[in-house]
């Protein structure tokens, strides 16, 4: 599903060139949850953004469901993202003035579908948010916010979920709930690339990789 071949990414900073990814190769297949562990600043988020067709690598090749996203124009890349990728972030990144239900429906802006409303309702129920569907994020607990973010990631039935520290702001109970949902998604044939420093992720991952200074270690 997702394949990195010798990906390198560096940034020009005020103190010279900073290498975020160095010759990274990996692949994630359907039905697999790949966890990438590493300390802050090791390049995990860069890895995820590159995988999400958001950050063009300086070297190497990304393949998403057999396509090179960076070989497409930005409009097609946006459509590819909407169709194939679900994102989950540590900060949830919900739109503050939209309700839970509206936030879950946000990806349908990119890919309108007749059944979007029905699908959103299913996700609201599946993630136990029925009584919060009309609330805005500020009125939710952190666990409810992350569940809303997860539901949003699943609206367009993506082929892969890219999760950046999805449990970083959650207590143990809510973290387990999130891992449970991710595992369930993988069990249903999806695949997940999870970058985290939470060691609990290993218990739910099919495979775990370690990242140090932009390099992957098995």
């Amino acid at each position: 599903m997702l394949e990195f071949k010798n990906i390198s990414k560096w940034f020009d900073g005020p103190q010279g060139v900073v290498t975020a990814l160095e010759d990274v190769s990996l692949s994630v297949s359907p039905g697999e949850l790949l966890a990438v562990h590493g300390p802050s600043g090791c390049g995990k988020t860069t890895l995820l953004l590159t995988a999400g067709a958001l950050l063009r690598p300086n070297a190497g090749q990304v393949s998403l469901d057999g396509q090179d996203p960076y070989g497409q124009n930005p409009e097609v890349r946006s459509e590819l993202r909407a169709r194939m990728i679900g994102f989950v972030f540590q900060q949830f990144h919900l739109i503050p003035y939209l309700t839970v239900r509206q936030n879950i429906l946000a990806p349908s802006l990119a890919m309108p579908a007749k059944e979007a409303d029905q699908r959103a309702q299913e996700l609201v129920s599946r993630f136990g948010l029925d009584d919060r569907a009309g609330h805005v994020p500020a009125q939710l607990s952190t666990g409810q916010r992350q569940r809303t973010a997860l539901a949003r990631a699943l609206l367009n039935k993506p082929k892969i979920i890219l999760a950046d520290e999805p449990t970083g702001n959650l207590d143990e109970g809510n973290a387990d709930i999130v891992f449970g949902y991710l595992s369930q998604y993988v069990a249903e044939g999806g695949c997940v690339l999870l970058v985290t420093h939470d060691v609990r992720a290993a218990a739910h991952a099919n495979r775990t990789l370690q990242m140090v200074d932009g390099r992957l270690i098995e």
Partner: protein
């Protein structure tokens, strides 16, 4: 807040435009009313003066005398009647000619004679009543004709001779019945006897002749004796025209003067209003673009603030796959909404402020009405123009929003 401020600034821009246009329209409306009122007042005054003049002229009687061309005027002035004669047919030629400068044609034959039966010197006037002007609307005759076989007597005559209406008298061996006894007039009429023209012609042996045609000068040709002379001279070459009645003419001249002065005053008023309008138009042509430009800059700044405040939101939406074009439409539609709302509110505010300023400047309130104000058209212009202004002003911030790199936003967050 950002939205409300945007609506407010578009409203100000729209109001300044609508206010300027409306203020000028109110000015035009007011000018029309002022000039219309003055015209109406003048027309009313002129009607009154015309009526006064007409009455004066009618009281004075005929003020144009048409005499044979060879009549010595010194004799005419001293005797008060002509000693020369002209064909009676002249009056018909005049009446049928379409002459416009005179009316009420009265042919007469006058002569001072001795009334042998009564041993009195009298002025005998033969008259047959007015000959209608066939080219003008008929008007009531100034004098009534004397029927054949009758005689009308001046005051001095009937008083001194002890005659009354219905008495039978003889004049130069011809019998007459007294048909009227006139009141004292204090002029030669008091010693005048009027009989039917044909009978006078027979008695005086002047068959088919007359020695004067009396007429009334037409009010439409005041101060136009040369024109009357020219016109009558062309129809009746063997005549001369004398004008009498200076009092009526003076009044007519005064009337003309009043009209001329009033017209000058109206023209001055019109010129003053035109100058005022030009000054206001100049001011509006400077002020409105400045206000509109300032509002556009303000909307643009608000747009930048909005884009900055929604930076993360835009980044998330772009991450979720929402295209740059979609983001562009989202922001532009908001600007359209700001423009439409601001334009509609500005339309109302502009109208009200124009009415208020117009009242402050001119002292009286004047509402514009449908007949002189294209409300729907102006509303459409206001809303459309405001939407365009908002979109143009918001274009750069919107493009900045679409060019925002979502990866950068997410990395920073």
């Amino acid at each position: 807040m950002n939205f409300a401020l945007g609506v407010l600034s578009v409203m100000v821009a729209s109001a300044s435009f609508i206010g300027s246009v409306t203020l000028l329209r109110i000015h035009d409306l007011r000018t029309g009313r002022i000039l219309g009122q003055k015209e109406a007042e003048l027309a009313e005054r002129m009607t009154q003066l015309k009526d006064d003049t007409r009455k004066a002229m009618l009281k004075l009687g005929f003020n144009v005398v048409i005499l044979p061309k060879d009549q010595n005027l010194a004799d005419w002035y001293s005797d008060d009647y002509a000693s020369k004669y002209m064909p009676e047919d002249y009056v018909h030629r005049l009446a049928n000619s379409g002459v416009v400068t005179v009316r009420h044609f009265l042919p007469s034959l006058q002569q001072k004679i001795d009334w042998p039966e009564r041993k009195r010197k009298i002025i005998l006037v033969g008259t047959r009543g007015e000959v209608p002007n066939l080219h003008k609307n008929p008007v009531k005759p100034l004098v009534q004709p004397v029927p054949p076989g009758t005689i009308s007597l001046g005051h001095e005559l009937h008083r001194s001779l002890g005659l009354k209406v219905g008495d039978k008298v003889e004049l130069m061996a011809r019998p007459f019945v007294v048909q009227a006894c006139h009141k004292e007039r204090g002029n030669k009429d008091d010693i005048t006897a009027w009989i039917y023209l044909a009978e006078a012609q027979e008695l005086l042996d002047k068959k088919g002749l007359i020695n004067a045609i009396l007429a009334l000068e037409c009010l439409c040709t005041l101060d136009a004796l040369p024109q009357i002379r020219k016109e009558i001279g062309a129809i009746l070459p063997g005549t001369q025209v004398i004008e009498r009645g200076s009092r009526a003419l003076a009044r007519a001249e005064a009337r003309t003067k009043v009209e001329t002065e009033a017209r000058i005053a109206i023209e001055k008023e019109k010129l003053g209003r035109e100058r005022l309008r030009a000054a206001r138009e100049r001011l509006a042509s400077i002020l409105t673009p400045v206000v509109v430009a300032a509002c556009a800059v303000w909307v643009s700044l608000l747009g930048f603030t909005n884009v900055r405040a929604r930076r993360v939101e835009i980044g998330i939406l772009r991450t979720l796959g929402v295209s740059a074009r979609h983001v562009l439409l989202m922001f532009l539609s908001k600007h359209v909404l700001v423009g439409v709302l601001g334009g509609a509110l500005g339309f109302g505010a502009g109208l009200l402020s124009a009415v208020y300023f117009s009242e402050t400047l001119e002292g009286t309130r004047l509402w514009i009405t449908g007949t002189n104000f294209s409300g729907p058209g102006l509303l459409l212009a206001s809303v459309g123009g405001a939407a365009a202004l908002s979109v143009i002003a918001g274009w750069i911030p919107t493009v900045v929003a679409t060019r925002q790199d979502p990866a950068e936003v997410l990395r920073e967050e």
